[in-house]
Symmetry: C2
Subunit: 308 residues, 2 copies
């Protein structure tokens, strides 16, 4: 078994993790969260989304959050991508100083229709001007593909469809394609099958895995992907985010769970696990809940015991 020696984790907690929180989280807390994540060693942090506040009220402070994190004394070498679903969002992001944006397509027609009200082909055409303008402005673009291992409306999704969408996003100029198991129904067998198809069109070094932990399979799916050469994974501190398709279920895999797994397997992430667990405990308390991740709970329980 050959594994990468180093893995880069893309922290999506401040955006993907917080966007479904009903209670508005103050910009101060978001900025502090991003600061703590950067201090813990996260080098790529998706900080906000430039969508209409009518659709996602939680991201209504996007300009303020991005401006403040870019303006602060951030350590060098940090990337702060923001989600920009259309040209209007991109222009607002650019005006706020964004140097990296993300666009997203689905691998399932039903999901595309229900989520963004257009076909997959139409959604990709909508992103094309964003990627063109971004490239002209020297802004990097990351591409998300959702429903790579299953769709809440259609069930199974053809690996070939995932590969097609990933290839199209790559051809548009995305520097990295993040493959999202949006509903967490993937397992090592189906993830391998999906990656087999994608790797015929997109090289491993351009891929990231974005695996939800709804059924507790994220760590196993990351292991399967590592064995196939994928060395970038998205995660959310404290498992922030839940699952919008099943209230009460888990969503994003917790960043600390992946750090624990990777370090245990001898893979470097550049992240300080203890500082990350502190951050998970802090943001979970701020939004009034227990950390959802097994690692945060185990590390905090062990600390409580050794202090007793």
């Amino acid at each position: 078994m050959t594994l990468p020696r180093k893995v880069r984790l893309v922290e999506v907690g401040p955006r993907d993790g917080l966007q479904n929180e009903k209670q508005l989280v103050p910009a101060d807390i978001k900025v502090e969260l991003i600061r703590r994540l950067a201090a813990a060693g996260l080098s790529t942090i998706e900080v906000t989304s430039f969508v209409s506040p009518k659709w996602v009220p939680q991201m209504g402070d996007n300009t303020e959050v991005l401006t403040r994190v870019l303006g602060g004394a951030a350590p060098a070498g940090l990337d702060y991508p923001v989600l920009t679903p259309n040209l209007k969002g991109f222009e607002a992001a650019l005006a706020a100083g964004a140097r990296e944006v993300a666009v997203f397509g689905a691998a399932s027609e039903s999901f595309s229709q229900k989520n963004i009200n257009c076909s997959i082909a139409e959604s990709l055409e909508r992103f094309r001007p964003v990627t063109e303008v971004a490239q002209a402005a020297g802004v990097r673009v990351r591409g998300y593909v959702s429903c790579v291992a299953g769709c809440p409306y259609e069930g199974a999704v053809a690996p070939e469809k995932v590969a097609e969408v990933a290839e199209t996003l790559l051809a548009m100029g995305c520097y990295e394609i993040s493959l999202g198991d949006t509903i967490g129904t993937g397992n090592p067998v189906s993830i391998r099958r999906m990656l087999d198809a994608v790797l015929r069109r997109v090289p491993a070094e351009r891929l990231a895995g974005h695996y939800h932990d709804t059924y507790g399979m994220a760590a196993a799916n990351v292991c399967a992907s590592l064995e196939m050469g994928v060395a970038v994974f998205d995660a959310s501190v404290g498992g922030l985010g839940g699952c919008p398709y099943a209230a009460g279920a888990s969503g994003n895999v917790a960043t600390e769970d992946l750090v624990w797994l990777l370090h245990g397997m001898g893979i470097d992430t550049g992240i300080d696990l203890d500082a990350l667990v502190d951050t998970a405990a802090w943001i979970s308390a701020e939004i009034g809940r227990e950390p959802a991740s097994r690692v945060a709970r185990a590390v905090l329980a062990k600390r409580a015991k050794s202090c007793a």
Copy 2:
């Protein structure tokens, strides 16, 4: 990747899962739990432990529970092993009708000393009369090895030590050796290394994996083990059991999480996932908590949504 086509799950919820519950669970509830697990398709259910009620008060009703489940109209082909740490326990189990018992050794000297107050070698000698008397009585013996991937006192545990203890238990007549990652610190790399050593002395068809989910790694560790030919795994419905070494952390992997994983990978278990999730919800409510497993939470959340 070659995977087994069929996997047997050994349900340890009624014993390992409940033994640390402070509030005594009535025998009626335990018997009903075992009945529901059998009805859901679990063919091996560890039902109780014949230890001194001074040490484990929760198992004080061992004779009643075993007698009732053996006496009821249980479906054919069911195994109801019970834990018997010494000859006295074995004789009580035999008197109650046990047809299968389990003994346990540790792969860590410190753990053996702190847990059962003797060395590994002494503990194995203590089990020898149990296995001898059991074999004479036609009672099957299952062997547990604890701390196979780490010890709460020593940290890392040598794979060679695990292999030695497993081989000794096999030589004593155990029909199956269950390899316990007691504190859940194993990962696919360390589990593979441990299994490499064990498989040089014990064939895969005599091994079971008993992986705790304290750090969310159980599913990944099961996948690594499946690839090495292990096709029996221990699990606890609803993730009952917690972690005695870190209060508030997870312990036993949930049976429904493994069923979901295995079925998703096309592996047969003979278990009805919906009935198992119902059982997880029922026993969790009986002991006053939410089901700890991701699969139970996701399935229950999805059901609630489709009814709304």
